[in-house]
């Protein structure tokens, strides 16, 4: 389909090789940027495209790049966030395994625009086999003159290093990622200062998600206007929607931003399998507040979901069927965040543990009348009070599940 920016050649084995990638037009965007455009022009083009971050926060990429101080004598860094820990999300794994050079090319163009010569890909530790594919592609890129010194025969140079994490969801949060990359525990940092000013090793740093990076070449090659033809005015382009759960065709679907959730589940993913009925949908990874079956007529874009009290996040759509007890879903939420809490700040450290203890007790059959209100109160105590967004990620889903499925949850209490 003409709409597919990232995945159109995913089926081709050769896409991950330099030869295959260039044969399909790869690195032409980088050549255009480095040889025909100034860094400022590249940045402007990405800004005009309105490309919003694909990691979860949805912050406009070009705008983020422009926060790097224009005049600095410090080294500027690029970190590509390949930590992909949000449960339900697998898009970056696909991109890095099938189309690694798109990420590399995106990194080259981004670095050129911002004046970066050192870039790291922070990839979650569990993706060891994916890292091998990416490492191979990086090696080929160096060999082919697309990384290192004198890229594409110009005087632009870029060192790109792969860096593996070691099992920590919080390291997907940009400032925790920075600390982890510096060899420390993944404790998020206070903002301000923002990474664009004080980031990796105290220097200005740009952090972007893998999918965001992979979108850059097409924007430069075909122009921002072309990019904006797909999707919505305030949220352009396509997203890689991941659908999981009891659907007929779980998998990755590249669709224009704004596609309806109903369409995604029932047309593209084939609807629920084995004659099951829809009970609920989590639209953006486990941190996203749940939607009931009655709420699936909603556009999948950052703003629509935010207005509905949920979020698009990593566009990881988890489909829940009628047979699945909501209490089980609730337990997955509280268990996950209690396990992944970094422990730095009071509300998250104690609150996620407390919520999980309550829900575990409910699951074991010892739930009591007041427990649901306790959960609501705890979640409200965490929401908006923590050092990093993981507090909200832990609290909002609990609030939504309890509020929207209260009768079902109450039925199991004494």
């Amino acid at each position: 389909m003409a709409d597919m920016i990232l995945t159109q050649n995913f089926g081709l084995e050769s896409l991950k090789t330099l030869k295959g990638y260039t044969a399909l037009g790869g690195y032409r965007a980088a050549a255009k940027a480095l040889k025909e455009m100034t860094p400022a022009q590249v940045l402007e083009e990405v800004k005009k495209s309105g490309l919003r971050g694909r990691g979860g926060a949805g912050f406009p990429a070009g705008l983020k790049w422009s926060f790097v101080p224009a005049k600095t004598d410090k080294r500027i860094y690029l970190c590509i966030n390949a930590d992909e820990g949000e449960p339900g999300t697998f898009k970056d794994r696909f991109i890095m395994s099938r189309n690694p050079h798109a990420v590399i090319e995106g990194a080259v163009i981004t670095s050129y625009a911002v004046g970066i010569h050192t870039a790291y890909v922070y990839i979650r530790g569990e993706y060891e086999t994916v890292a091998r594919v990416l490492e191979e592609a990086i090696g080929e890129a160096y060999g082919g003159g697309y990384l290192g010194r004198g890229i594409l025969g110009t005087d632009f140079f870029l060192e790109l290093t792969l860096h593996r994490g070691a099992g920590s969801y919080i390291c997907g949060e940009e400032t925790a990622l920075l600390d982890s990359l510096e060899g420390k525990r993944g404790w998020p940092r206070l903002k301000p200062p923002f990474p664009a000013v004080v980031g990796l090793f105290g220097s200005p740093t740009v952090i972007n998600n893998v999918e965001t990076m992979a979108n850059i070449p097409a924007i430069i090659l075909h122009g921002s206007d072309h990019f904006r033809q797909v999707g919505l005015p305030r949220d352009s382009g396509t997203r890689l929607f991941g659908v999981s759960g009891p659907v007929r065709k779980p998998g990755l679907y590249e669709l224009p931003v704004g596609v309806s959730l109903r369409e995604l589940i029932f047309e593209h993913a084939g609807g629920l399998k084995d004659g099951r009925t829809l009970k609920a949908v989590i639209p953006g990874g486990l941190s996203a507040p749940v939607l009931t079956a009655a709420e699936v007529d909603i556009a999948l874009d950052l703003d629509s979901l935010a207005r509905a009290g949920s979020m698009l996040g990593s566009a990881a759509v988890i489909v829940i069927d009628e047979e699945t007890p909501i209490l089980a879903v609730l337990k997955k939420v509280t268990g996950f965040f209690a396990h992944e809490s970094c422990g730095q700040c009071t509300p998250c450290r104690l609150g996620t543990a407390w919520m999980d203890k309550v829900v575990t007790r409910m699951e074991e059959g010892h739930g009591e009348r007041g427990d649901l209100d306790t959960l609501l109160r705890l979640a409200a105590g965490i929401k908006g009070r923590t050092l990093c967004p993981m507090g909200d990620a832990a609290a909002l889903p609990v609030l939504a599940l309890v509020q929207k499925f209260r009768p079902e949850l109450e039925a199991g209490l004494t």
């Binding site: 992909e84 420390k184 996950f336």
Partner: protein, 157 residues
């Protein structure tokens, strides 16, 4: 302590450290390397790594205990890590784990006496389109049911 590290390992560690303006940044990659070599991170290894990266042993241990992929005790030859997060559970992940517990006679976190298997329950592995899935060491296996699991276990010999 560093004496326990082979010249080849030392060279690799030096190369890793050289990729960053501060040696400490190489800690996670170095620990992966050391763990691959020895199977786990011992106190001796902590101290050796600390010395090589110009940091304190306590800083190494802080990192080893923070991240789930570093082990302070040896794990089995086959480390079976079963995802028990939402997407996998919706498609039988819990039953998969229960089945493995039965087959291997292990609870999550335990290692078999012959050192062959360690069973763990882990968070989302990022392969939800293949739920339910698990990893054996660094390899991912998805779309598992009882039969495919049996096949898999058989292959691990």
């Amino acid at each position: 302590m560093s004496a326990a590290f082979s010249p080849d390992l030392l060279k690799k560690i030096e190369a890793l450290a050289g990729r960053y303006p501060h040696k400490r940044a190489a800690l996670l990659p170095v620990l992966h390397l050391v763990q691959k070599e020895f199977g786990f991170i011992s106190p001796d290894a902590e101290q050796a790594v600390a010395g090589l990266l110009d940091i304190k042993p306590i800083q190494v241990r802080e990192v080893v205990t923070f991240y789930t992929m570093f082990f302070r005790r040896p794990v089995g030859r086959f480390h079976i890590q079963v995802c028990t997060n939402l997407s996998c559970s919706l498609l039988g992940g819990e039953q998969l784990l229960a089945h493995l517990e039965e087959q291997l006679r292990l609870k999550p976190g335990e290692t078999s006496p012959d050192g062959k298997f360690t069973l763990s329950s882990v968070e989302c592995l990022g392969a939800c389109e293949q739920s339910p899935c698990l990893m054996v060491n660094e390899n991912l296996y998805g779309n598992l049911d009882k039969d495919r699991l049996a096949e898999l276990l058989e292959g691990l010999n």
